[in-house]
């Protein structure tokens, strides 16, 4: 049974649906990457999983449990975590406080998890007393991912983690994502740097106009001439 199973999901923000039947499955060991043109419903798919927009048809199940239209404060304790694309840190709060907020739903001792996050992103340990708003773009992205990892998720949803980062940082963030995945966290991310992201994806999904167009392993999608021509810029 897949960790996350999305079947024929239709949904939107109240007007015409943006998602018109999305199908997607992720296993615990997977790094899933959603690519596609602008307005294809990539970010919307992540938001639909996280209960931030209304799913009118289809089903979303996590660990076999139906979770469509559940709110984040129910989903986080179940093992889902989401890093939005923009405004994904609490700028006025210190790095450590940002991480604490990620552990809000936990009632047990989260100090070991914090150490684990600091070990993964050592630069955050150095800057833990600094307001997150003073950090560079790449470091903020680490704070955002660290915050999301503090709830010890089974599945981490990332909305364009490389957006707005310089090429050097893009590579670094991708390396961090692989590291997080190796630590046992499934990843589902939306990416603009499609070719680069599919290169390390175990599952790739090409979305267009709110529907799946192609599904396969990352390598298969890169190798598919039609995908390459239409969606990866030749």
């Amino acid at each position: 049974m897949a960790l996350l199973d999305i079947k024929d999901v239709v949904g939107g923000y109240g007007g015409a649906p943006i998602l018109n039947g999305v199908n997607l499955a992720i296993e615990q060991s997977d790094i899933g990457v959603i690519v596609g043109p602008n307005g294809a419903g990539k970010s919307t798919t992540l938001k639909a999983i996280f209960g931030l927009l209304k799913v009118t048809e289809g089903s979303i199940s996590f660990h076999g449990e139906a979770i469509q239209n559940s709110l984040p404060d129910r989903l986080v304790p179940k093992g889902l975590s989401f890093v939005p694309q923009e405004k994904n840190v609490f700028t006025s709060m210190s790095v450590e406080e940002n991480l604490e907020m990620g552990a809000f739903t936990r009632t047990d001792d989260f100090k070991p998890t914090m150490e684990w996050v600091y070990d993964m992103f050592p630069v955050l340990r150095e800057k833990r007393r600094q307001p997150a708003g003073e950090l560079s773009g790449g470091q903020r992205q680490m704070v955002a991912m660290g915050r999301a990892l503090m709830s010890q998720p089974k599945l981490l949803l990332l909305d364009e983690p490389s957006a707005g980062l310089s090429p050097r940082y893009v590579l670094e963030i991708f390396e961090q994502i692989v590291k997080v995945n190796k630590a046992g966290v499934a990843i589902l991310m939306v990416e603009q740097n499609a070719r680069q992201a599919l290169a390390f994806a175990s599952r790739g999904f090409v979305l267009a106009t709110g529907k799946n167009r192609f599904t396969g392993t990352g390598a298969e999608l890169i190798a598919d001439p039609e995908v390459a021509k239409s969606f990866l810029g030749g």
Partner: protein, 333 residues
């Protein structure tokens, strides 16, 4: 020297007292703005309501013989009045603001709703208490503290009332408690997180409804405290705090909306500015009257007492020109 003591009594003492009341009121305004993103116009009337609750409790306590010679009964019942006011604040939110929020009402709608709540509270108070003036000190004395200054030729004493002293102490305790709550506790940090970025707070799994409830509890209880302090310093009447809701908003805006420490700073800034503006400078200048190029008038104040309210607006305009988001860089919308 006598003149300096007069200055101390009329500006420093009065400024600290007025500043405390403004600060405690403004904290509530700024917290509600930070979390719920609207200007809670009914805050002044929540203060008045809190004061009337404290007044009723004080009367009940006096009737039951629960009084001490040390502390005025108004202060004795303050904790209970704060709890009751917090419960009413939660009820007001549930009855008026929460249904609007649920339908995604814009801040302007919320503001208009809060004006409605203002009218409701004022109407209720007038219904039960009429439009008369009441005093906490009908059955007990307002004790005056006189501290003589051990200097030669000094005849004036430093004067303040015992309630004024207690007020400043209560404010200090409330501010410290709020500080520790916001910086040390899980819920306090969640409140700051939600004021910083409400969407991300929700995504992090923070129970935003709980944060909203806590906000109303703090704002409601602090409003009761500020209102009772004001009523203990002057008199109790149905439009007690409605008249000072504008300087309180000015204090919150000057400090930076959403910034608790800014609201405290703004409260004291405006409190001091008002007392300085209505101070009779003639008294200070009298010893040097002979060397002045003009004749000293009997009263020389920057503004007459009845125009005290304008001071808050002058400061508001000046601060916003110099720093559009307030001293502590608050929200601009």
């Amino acid at each position: 020297m006598n003149e300096l003591i007069f200055f101390f009594n009329n500006v420093v003492v009065a400024g600290v007292v007025l500043g405390s009341i403004y600060a405690v009121g403004a904290i509530g305004v700024t917290l509600i703005f930070g979390i719920l993103r609207f200007a809670h116009f009914a805050h002044g009337d929540m203060m008045t309501m809190g004061a009337f609750i404290a007044f009723l409790l004080a009367m009940a306590a006096t009737a039951l013989g629960i009084t001490t010679p040390v502390v005025p009964t108004g202060f004795l019942v303050l904790p209970l009045a704060m709890i009751l006011a917090a419960i009413i604040a939660l009820g007001l939110d549930k009855g008026f603001y929460a249904p609007l929020r649920k339908r995604g009402a814009r801040p302007v709608t919320m503001l208009i709703a809060s004006i409605g709540v203002t009218l409701i509270i004022q109407g209720m108070i007038r219904l039960f208490f009429g439009s008369g003036t009441y005093s906490f000190f009908e059955t007990e004395q307002k004790q005056l503290v006189r501290i003589p200054v051990p200097l030669e030729g000094v005849t004036r004493t430093i004067n303040f009332t015992q309630p004024q002293l207690l007020m400043v102490l209560c404010t200090a305790v409330a501010v410290l408690a709020l500080h520790f709550f916001l910086t040390r506790s899980r819920l306090g940090k969640a409140m700051r997180a939600m004021a910083d970025n409400a969407d991300l707070a929700q995504v992090s799994g923070i129970n935003t409804k709980l944060v909203v409830r806590v906000t109303w509890i703090i704002a409601g209880s602090l409003a009761a405290m500020a209102g009772t302090m004001l009523a203990l310093d002057v008199n109790l009447k149905p439009d007690l705090a409605f008249n000072i809701v504008l300087p309180i908003f000015a204090a919150a805006i000057v400090g930076g909306l959403g910034q608790s420490y800014g609201a405290i700073a703004g409260g004291f800034l405006i409190g001091f500015a008002e007392t300085l503006a209505i101070f009779n400078w003639s008294v200070l200048l009298r010893p040097v009257a002979g060397s002045l190029p003009f004749e000293l008038p009997a009263t020389l104040a920057i503004v007459p007492t009845e125009y005290k309210l304008t001071v808050a607006f002058v400061i508001l305009v000046v601060v916003l020109l110099w720093r559009p988001t307030g001293i502590f860089k608050g929200a601009s919308t």
